[in-house]
């Protein structure tokens, strides 16, 4: 047990902070977020070449750096601080994790190296119901696209909503189920090239402009059986669920960065802003609210890095034994929901406080708080907000026969 960053990890953070500070200023964010693409291809390919972060937790066997989830969380936290606009979260948290957890050896060989080399971005779409209530749960019921078995492959049809960077991703991983099958196991993941003519991909403009969503429509696309991640008998919702849990931890790390940065810039502002002849930072009510923010941000830090350690253990147990024990599987669920619930609330709270404590300028377009506020809202929603994740934890604690609150 050693719950502190290693020297190497501290160096990774430092270099990430320095790099992002140059490529993701407020002006950069504003410039890029107003485009449909949502990222600067030159910046992205530069990052892939210089920093190789897209390959961070891809094993060395597939051309990656072979680092762990703690390192990934560090990078994401730094990106979150800068509201960095890029397909990183989609590609690494959704795409790479799906391949690591679900894909067969052949599929890993096929796809991971081209991601590691920065040649492909990836996204994953699964929400595809027309029933809002099903979609609200971010669960297996939201997968309502269909994959009909035909010959040596499948015919895909459906509309996938809220696909992060889905309109620009080179590779799409899509979840679909056999028609008429409502059980969790009836779900399969398919990996396909994104830019095929028969795939209609449409950017859906969003309130948070720093993260792009798309809708993907397919009406009867034949894909061969080897596009089915992990083989035809594998996958299913339980595997996809693990991918989403790993992604939740990644998203939480990014939220943590956003929360910390928006807190810091707000406290800086209160030190400068003079009212009634004093910097407003000297008013006790402001100080106490700042302290409340710091408490939450520090707790969020513990939550994220604890969850990252669990993700590390999960991925290494999975790669060593090609399966996962129920113990580590339960722990991943708990850690992911804990981190996502806590960081969602923390980021939203800090961003809302930021607008309030900035006063009048806090709700102008010109100042930055609204960018964090909108990101806080969109990332809170992404993969489920606090209530949903708390209910998942409650279900583990209360609905099983034995209490599992082990510290």
């Amino acid at each position: 047990m050693e719950f502190a960053f290693t020297e190497e990890q501290a160096m990774i953070r430092e270099s990430a902070a320095g790099y992002l500070q140059n490529i993701s200023t407020s002006a950069d964010v504003r410039r890029v977020m107003s485009t449909e693409q949502g990222y600067d291809p030159g910046v992205w390919s530069g990052l892939c070449r210089d920093m190789y972060w897209q390959a961070l937790h891809i094993p060395e066997a597939y051309g990656g750096l072979g680092l762990g989830y703690v390192e990934l969380a560090i990078i994401l936290e730094e990106m979150g601080k800068r509201l960095f606009c890029s397909p990183f979260l989609s590609t690494v948290a959704l795409g790479v994790n799906a391949l690591l957890v679900v894909a067969s050896e052949e599929q890993k060989q096929r796809w991971l190296p081209e991601i590691a080399e920065g040649r492909s971005t990836v996204s994953l779409g699964f929400i595809s119901s027309e029933d809002t209530q099903e979609n609200r749960q971010w669960g297996s019921a939201s997968v309502q696209s269909h994959a009909r078995k035909e010959g040596d492959g499948y015919v895909l049809s459906g509309s996938w909503h809220y696909v992060s960077d889905g309109h620009t991703a080179n590779v799409l991983i899509l979840a679909a189920r056999e028609k008429g099958v409502s059980i969790e196991d009836g779900i399969r993941l398919f990996v396909i090239a994104g830019d095929q003519d028969c795939i209609k991909r449409q950017w859906t403009p969003t309130m948070d402009q720093t993260r792009k969503l798309a809708r993907v429509d397919i009406d009867g696309l034949f894909v061969s059986a080897d596009c089915c991640l992990g083989g035809e008998e594998s996958a299913g919702w339980p595997a996809l669920e693990k991918v989403l849990q790993l992604s939740s931890i990644a998203s939480a790390a990014e939220q943590l960065g956003g929360a910390r940065q928006v807190m810091d810039l707000t406290i800086d502002y209160t030190q400068e802003r003079v009212q009634f002849n004093r910097p407003i930072a000297s008013f006790q009510a402001i100080k106490h609210r700042a302290a409340d923010m710091m408490l939450q941000v520090e707790c969020a830090t513990s939550a994220v890095y604890y969850a990252a350690c669990v993700a590390d253990e999960y991925l290494s147990e999975r790669s060593n034994t090609a399966g996962d024990s129920s113990k580590i599987s339960d722990e991943l669920l708990q850690a992911a929901s804990l981190a996502k619930a806590y960081c969602s609330d923390t980021f939203f709270h800090c961003a809302a406080e930021s607008i309030q404590l900035h006063g009048g300028v806090g709700f102008t377009w010109e100042y930055d708080p609204h960018l964090y506020f909108k990101r806080a809202r969109s990332s809170e929603q992404f993969l489920g907000a606090g209530d949903l994740h708390r209910e998942r934890i409650a279900s583990q604690l209360l609905d099983s026969s034995a209490a599992r609150s082990d510290v």
Binding site: E36, P205, Q209, I355, F363, T364, W365, K374
Partner: protein, 397 residues
């Protein structure tokens, strides 16, 4: 104490509802439910026409005394009028600053000539007003006003220099009431005056402020050698603080009941969506919707308490909490709207940045807790004035 209205009042309620039904249609149909907070910049010309149409039937300034062109309605009738107006989707009043702030101030403190000059334009819907209070470095702190005005006795006019900010409807207004420092070197509450300044002149520049919604209801107003006639001062030079404080009292009037009906429209929308999209099955959402409903009911009875009983002019406890309560409530409603919508809440009406009605509610309500005295200022006021707790100590360093 009694919460039901008399039969006579109910007759009046029908009269208002009928008039609105017969008149808020045709060319005015498009204005229904428009022009509220976050939407104040829409249809300005059409809304002015609508207000002139109302004026012809005597429905502007209904609470003003008949002597000044008002309808002289009782408090109960004003409550009813505002409720029915909002229920019918009557558009946001372009003239509300004239009707609710400038007018009552002129009635209370103005000269006979000022009343004759300014009140008819408000009652008829032909002259519009904006409010020049906040300044960039003063913010919530009126005592720190830096805009200065000098009486040029030769030319018989005030000359004004300075900058105001967070001025809503400035680009649509004919007049602005400005708090300016008229005694050079004065500090704090002393040496301020309350001036009426025409907007259509070289010396006044209006610069819209782009908000987090991407729209601009608020403005910066620059006064650079702006002028107004020497007579256009309310009270005497140096009375500015006193008048501004009295005006704060006018702000909390019956129009709040109309505001509540707008809030009710919003809450009804959210309930309707929740019932349609399944959010109504989520226990946490249920609790929050019930809470929002409770808060709105309480807001209504807070308002009715303010309006009932003897009107001795002093701000009572229930009035001091009113702004803090509704602003906080409204911001929470905005968040609730998003959470009821779920993942769909992110999707814009259309690109590049056209917000849906509820997104606009969500974003714009973040300003409710800031403008017109932020929550923090409200809490200071409550603690110090209502609860008698000590003021902030003076700073020595």
């Amino acid at each position: 104490m009694k919460i039901s209205f008399s039969p006579e009042d109910e007759v009046f309620r029908r009269e208002v509802a009928d008039w609105l039904k017969e008149n808020l249609c045709g060319e005015f149909e498009q204005l229904r439910f428009r022009g509220g907070p976050g939407d104040e910049h829409r249809y300005p010309e059409e809304r002015k026409q609508w207000e002139q149409h109302m004026a012809q039937a005597g429905w502007l300034c209904v609470g003003w005394p008949q002597d000044y062109g008002g309808r002289g309605l009782s408090i109960n009738q004003q409550v009813i009028f505002n409720e029915e107006y909002a229920r019918a989707g009557g558009p946001g009043h372009m003239g509300h600053i004239g009707e609710g702030l400038a007018g009552p101030t002129i009635i209370a403190f103005g000269t006979k000539e000022q009343k004759q000059r300014f009140l008819p334009g408000i009652v008829n819907g032909t002259e519009y007003w904006c409010q020049g209070y906040s300044e960039p470095s003063a913010g919530s702190d009126l005592a720190n006003v830096k805009t200065r005005a000098v009486l040029n006795t030769e030319q018989g006019r005030w000359e004004i220099h300075g900058q105001k900010v967070w001025t809503s409807l400035a680009h649509e207004a004919d007049w602005c009431f400005v708090i300016a420092r008229t005694e050079p070197g004065s500090q704090g509450h002393k040496g301020l005056s309350f001036l009426l300044v025409p907007m259509d002149q070289m010396g006044v520049t209006v610069q819209p402020i782009e908000q987090l919604t991407g729209t601009s209801e608020f403005n910066e107003v620059f006064f650079d050698q702006a002028v107004t006639d020497a007579a256009n001062i309310i009270g005497k030079p140096g009375d500015g603080w006193k008048i501004a404080m009295a005006l704060l009292g006018f702000e909390r009037g019956v129009s709040t009941l109309g505001q509540q009906m707008q809030f009710k429209n919003e809450l009804d929308d959210i309930i309707r969506i929740a019932k349609t999209n399944g959010a109504a099955e989520d226990p946490a959402i249920r609790q929050r919707i019930a809470n929002a409903w409770i808060g709105l009911r309480i807001m209504r009875y807070n308002a009715l308490r303010m309006l009932s009983g003897e009107q001795d002019g002093a701000l009572r406890q229930e009035a001091m909490i009113y702004k803090l309560h509704w602003a906080t409530w409204h911001a929470e409603l905005g968040k609730l709207a998003m959470d009821v919508l779920g993942p769909e809440a992110e999707l814009l009406d259309r690109g590049p940045y056209e917000l849906t009605r509820l997104q606009s509610l969500f974003l714009f309500t973040r300003s409710d807790t800031i403008y017109g005295g932020s929550n923090e200022i409200q809490k200071n006021i409550i603690a110090e004035r209502a609860l008698g707790m000590p003021k902030e100590p003076k700073i020595t360093r």
